[in-house]
Point group: C2
Chain length 266, copies 2
């Protein structure tokens, strides 16, 4: 079984790790469009153009599935990517993210007031992909949805400031208005970079439940693919493609080397 | 007289303003490659490829000069841009920046120890363009050069946090090591975004002289171009090209509208 994972850069590595936990024997092709990151500050037209180019590049690999591990691309370009991939199933991160929020909310009685805070890039928030979908599932009177664009978080993570005071202050600035009113709620990491700073986000929202869509995505993908084909004893593999390989952050190289060690990855 | 100004995004607007002060009657074509920003985190090969594409796009305008208002492109792609532009004179920002530092240093006696701190993007610092050039002009025993990559500043400026506590803390983090040792010196804004936050940088380095290369560049360009052709009574004009026009920060739109008002710009 061959699965493509596509992201604007290194955020999708957190999705890849979740997929490999569920489907350890699959062969993965990871495409990070580092020559064109970040996607989150670009217009929908530009994100769509770039996403389709990545899909075209992955098509010759004969994939059994393509996972769009980038929230921005999932939010604005999923239909165009599906069209480009023809019959290959394409999974975005928005649907499993929404599913994960709905499940997390089951911890509260339906009558209790529980706010949902979506943190994501500017392009994802502008697209309202999460807001629209969440509101279609949830009762607005008790489950209000707040959406916050956090454009500085991705560059800060790429700088490696994942436990820096400036990062904590930046998160505090972004979540401050909602935190000032609500002691508890569900916060969705609506960008695949954010799991790198999950602890810092949790620290700023101590009473909140933090939801990472990567696990829900892993479950969705493994449930929908042919399970027989995914079984096996082969150690699995990852082929790495970066459109600007000389511009990888140091901590991403460490992560990739860790993945290499864990599974004899090519 | 027609002058092209090229930047990865909106940083070059500070250079455009300085040029228009010197050469108010010229016709300007401003190209902001917003579809591909930021350049400062990309590899030299990728920055060169993108810069040459921008030069090719500007070539049909019949320019009298092209100003590369991006420090990263000036640092790693100037020769390739010159090749692409043929006989059109091409000006980068590194040479006038170095010139401006040398002039600023004249305020101190040659025997006094005066450090120089270059703040720039990761790609510019990696290229060592400023360091190499400054060291070739300056006496190393009394004029030590420090180079600091500041990758988070550009996204923070694009977010509009130009007087935010988080910005001040980020600058403090970047200049802290040098400031801890030296009370005075010359700090060069080695990225055309940084003039937007010149006051914040000055506040973190109160005893230091802040140097912005835009003025030196304006002087260099006006001195080298045919002055007769530049004279006139026409109000001048700017034609704007943005490769991703839907992704401009709000404060850049304000600036562009201001420039429009000031000179009947098309």
């Amino acid at each position: 079984m061959k699965i493509g994972v596509f992201d604007s850069g290194i955020g999708g590595l957190t999705v890849l790790a979740a997929l490999r936990e569920r489907l350890p024997h699959a062969e993965y092709v990871y495409l990070g469009d580092t020559a064109n990151l970040p996607y989150g500050t670009k217009s929908p037209a530009q994100v769509t153009r770039l996403s389709v180019a990545c899909a075209e590049r992955l098509k010759p690999y004969g994939l059994d599935a393509l996972v769009v591990a980038c929230n921005t691309a999932s939010s604005v370009a999923l239909e165009a990517i599906r069209e480009a991939m023809g019959t290959v199933p394409v999974f975005g991160v928005v649907e499993p993210g929404v599913q994960a929020v709905v499940e997390a909310l089951e911890a509260w009685p339906a009558s209790e007031y529980v706010p949902i805070l979506v943190l994501a890039t500017r392009a994802t928030i502008k697209s309202a992909s999460y807001g629209k979908s969440l509101r279609s599932f949830l009762e607005p009177a008790t489950r209000p949805v707040f959406e916050q664009a956090c454009p500085i978080l991705v560059p800060m993570i790429e700088e490696g400031w994942i436990n820096h005071q400036v990062l904590h202050d930046t998160i505090s600035e972004y979540v401050g208005p909602v935190r000032a009113v609500y002691l508890t709620g569900v916060v969705l990491l609506g960008c695949t970079h954010y799991p790198w700073i999950e602890a810092a986000i949790q620290a700023q929202l101590p009473g909140w439940k933090v939801v990472n869509s990567a696990f829900a995505l892993g479950r969705l993908v493994s449930a929908q693919l042919n399970a027989d084909k995914a079984r096996g004893t082969a150690p699995g593999s990852v082929e790495w493609i970066f459109t600007d390989p000389d511009a990888l952050p140091a901590f991403a190289c460490q992560f990739i080397n860790g993945q290499r060690r864990s599974a004899h990855v090519e």
